[in-house]
Symmetry: C2
Subunit: 248 residues, 2 copies
DNA sequence: CGAAGGGTTGAGATCTGTCAAGGAACGTGG
DNA sequence: CCACGTTCCTTGACAGATCTCAACCCTTCG
């Protein structure tokens, strides 16, 4: 396969310009691309964990089902994201993962990560950076869930998605596609679907967010950021200084 | 320094029996042990991030201050824990860290981590495992904050601390020391101090948790686990299969 | 002895959840 | 093109959990 067509190569390349050797090393890990239908589960909550995967196309989410019947969505995955890093040190899945839309995924066994550690310092550092970035994103979501009211939670989440989409598609994000039902948003933000609806209505009335089906428009980003207490530092990693030292 | 006295060697050794070479490599990173007083801050929220540290003695916590004046505590660190991994890919701190009690810490520059990546596959894998374990713990805290009521939140947190203390001290934990004020617990669990107090009173009246100052007693672990929906799988990592492959 | 920090208790306010009914959009089959 | 079911969303009324404010108490420590 041509390295530049690989989804994982493209993803790593965003972090740091890869050498051809590194690209080849990554590509060799990519056995196969599997098409997956919307709603299919990539794995369930207590499955054996022996591989991870990258999303080539389509959105996905990870979740935990609770004993009281509710469900918490932990993470929304966009094309290019690596899924399943969480369980690297565990033999069992701690969260399920499900496709939101039709898409394509690439599976990699865990042991191939060890190969990477053995062979490329750059790729090892990027893997570590990706893992720590995921930790930072979960942390921000935790703060969002614990400390903000419904209005801020929703606004904050929309701004996060807007920023993430902008980073991968590199065009503006005043308006973007958000293929998530209100039920899903409720499970993500720890609210009831009913209250999600009310909150959208309120944001709409205040002219801050317009939602039509799966399209969201944010007319005044700064106003909404102020409303939500959104600070995008947590989405903007800066690995340059580190790699400097790694490569000289 | 004798490797077996190093706090970081002891910590890594919990994950996997280290070779003498690995121990020496780790020890060389440990320049100095600094004593720190209760209440001192190891770093603030927007400081430059160029090092991490391990806790040798004393408890610490990381936190985020919000624009609305509230504070969210992200993590409680116990002796042996590594602090600051979160910011490996960032040049700025995203959270402050403060000592809860008097203690001792060991600082390491980020670039020494790269040295480890270069020289030891075992240590690299352990670092990755530690990072993914931290991610799992934050995820569980997120679920706890988003989906459970005050009673369950508090019970779940106490059980987590009990389990963590047991893992490092390897004796029972029916009764253990918890040097956290109710205000700190409130900032940790996303509740008000007043409600923490009420919840302790309720748990006490039901005979599930007894608290006297900084001592907590849980007479019936199973009963409390049931009440809280606590499942300790997330604290029990299993790296054996992975290292098997790494080392043969 | 007084001050300060931490914990407890009560009353009222607020946010969000639950339940229930109804409406809008979409796909399917006739 | 229409009828129908399904899914998703909206709205209202009420209930419950937690917050805020305020007063008070206890312990510790200088």
């Amino acid at each position: 396969m041509n390295p530049d067509e690989s989804c994982i190569v493209r993803h790593f390349d965003q972090y740091f310009r890869l050498s051809d050797d590194d690209k080849m090393l990554l590509v060799r890990l990519e056995d196969s691309v599997s098409p997956v239908k919307a709603g299919t589960s990539l794995w369930g909550e207590r499955d054996k964990a022996y591989e991870f995967c990258t999303l080539k196309r389509g959105w996905a989410f990870s979740y935990r089902d609770l004993e009281n019947g509710s469900r918490q969505i932990l993470e929304i995955y966009l094309p290019g994201d690596i899924v399943g890093l969480r369980e690297f040190a565990f033999s069992q899945r701690l969260a399920g993962v499900q496709m939101i839309e039709d898409g394509e995924v690439c599976f990699f066994p865990h042991r191939h990560l060890i190969d990477i550690f053995r062979r490329s310092l750059t790729l090892t550092s990027i893997m570590f950076a990706i893992s720590s970035r995921q930790q930072v994103m979960i942390t921000e979501r935790l703060v969002n869930l614990a400390r903000r009211n419904a209005r801020q939670k929703l606004a904050h989440f929309l701004l996060e998605m807007c920023q993430r989409i902008k980073q991968t598609q590199s065009d503006g994000c005043e308006s973007f596609r958000l293929p998530l039902s209100q039920e899903l948003l409720a499970d993500l933000l720890g609210l009831s679907p009913v209250h999600i609806s009310r909150t959208f209505t309120a944001l709409n009335e205040d002219g801050l967010v317009f939602r039509d089906r799966h399209n969201v428009t944010i007319p005044d980003l700064e106003a909404l950021k102020h409303e939500a207490g959104f600070d995008d530092r947590y989405l903007i990693e800066n690995m340059r200084p580190l790699f400097h030292e790694a490569n000289v």
